[in-house]
């Protein structure tokens, strides 16, 4: 039993799922679902379709180089069954997936680190440039009631009262 990868979106194809198309030069295109198959038939390039793994890898959205990917590799040499090895493998799977999730989270955090300030800057710029769309340029000057009253700073002078101390 082998878990294949979808040609279009690179997701895992479990046995009994999907469709495979065999071209005349014996190249096999496996698709995880009809969505991917249809996109292939429409001759779309997976590198240009945003929801595919290929796009995300190409544009630096996902973690691409990591030691944890080495475990999930296609190997053509069958391993001889060994009970201890199998047991250890099953134990290792959990830790490996956890490590990978942590690392990808860190990658995402790093990628998103400067996003908030950029978004704020962009929205401020937009507000500055296109305020006329929601408020006509002369409207504020015409109607004085629309203008918020200016805040006047009031300085309170603290008078120090020198009360005689009670004895």
């Amino acid at each position: 039993m082998r878990l294949e990868k979808c040609w279009f979106c690179s997701s895992t194809i479990y046995p009994g799922h999907g469709i495979q198309f065999v071209r005349n030069d014996s190249k096999i295109f496996r698709f995880c679902r009809s969505k991917c198959h249809k996109n292939y038939k429409m001759k779309r390039n997976p590198r240009k379709v945003k929801w595919t793994k290929a796009y995300r890898r190409l544009h630096g959205k996902d973690m691409t180089q990591d030691a944890t990917f080495e475990f999930e590799r296609k190997r053509n040499r069958p391993e001889r069954y060994d009970r201890n090895v199998t047991e250890n493998t099953l134990k290792a799977i959990k830790t490996i997936t956890k490590v990978r999730a942590d690392r990808s989270d860190a990658h995402h955090k790093k990628r998103m680190s400067g996003k908030k300030s950029i978004a704020l800057k962009e929205s401020l710029k937009e507000l500055d440039q296109s305020i006329h769309l929601i408020r006509a340029p002369g409207a504020v000057e015409l109607d004085p009631s629309k203008i918020a009253p200016k805040k006047i700073k009031v300085t309170i002078q603290q008078t120090q009262e020198t009360a005689p101390m009670e004895e």
Binding site: P15, Q20, V22, N24, S130, I134
Partner: protein, 168 residues
């Protein structure tokens, strides 16, 4: 999202009402031209079982190039699928081959463009409809087989599988 896009959307809908009446016909015709990519249409046509009058390519060196199915021998009610035997008439043939044009031959379907469900629930489909010519006992006439061959043949037609260069 942003309010510029919101505002522009309102503008577009207002404009759209004007536009549809004048340019609607033009736009529709443009879409039709863009959609009818010729090869795409060929690829997406309705696929059927191998049935009477289906034209198939010959995937071996028996001498025939193209055959036409005239009878499905062992198959489903509707027609033949991968691994089924058909009777065919040779429509095109190479000169000095084992098989001549106009002969009635037997063949095993090795590739079918219609998707075929496999025992595990997944499906397989090929580029074209192709056949390997055999005698009545099911032994191949040619000595070479070109192109991929499905493992559905493994029960009855092991000879074809062993001749094939790639099994899928």
């Amino acid at each position: 999202m942003s309010f510029t896009s919101r505002c522009s959307r309102v503008g577009r809908s207002l404009l759209g009402a004007v536009n549809t009446s004048t340019f609607g016909i033009l736009r529709a015709s443009h879409d039709a031209v863009a959609g009818s990519n010729f090869s795409n249409v060929l690829f997406q046509q309705q696929r059927t079982f191998i049935q009477m009058r289906t034209n198939l390519k010959v995937a071996d060196n028996s001498g025939a190039k193209k055959v036409m199915c005239i009878q499905v021998l062992k198959g489903r009610k509707k027609g033949a699928v991968l691994g089924d035997m058909i009777v065919a008439s040779v429509k095109e043939a190479f000169p000095r081959g084992k098989v001549k044009k106009g002969e009635v031959v037997y063949g095993i379907v090795v590739r079918a463009a219609m998707k075929h469900g496999r025992c595990d629930g997944s499906e397989i489909m090929f580029d074209e409809n192709a056949v390997v010519l055999v005698n009545k006992q099911g032994e191949p006439i040619g000595t070479r087989i070109s192109g991929p061959v499905p493992y559905e043949l493994r029960r009855k037609h092991v000879k074809i599988l062993s001749l094939a260069d790639s099994i899928v």
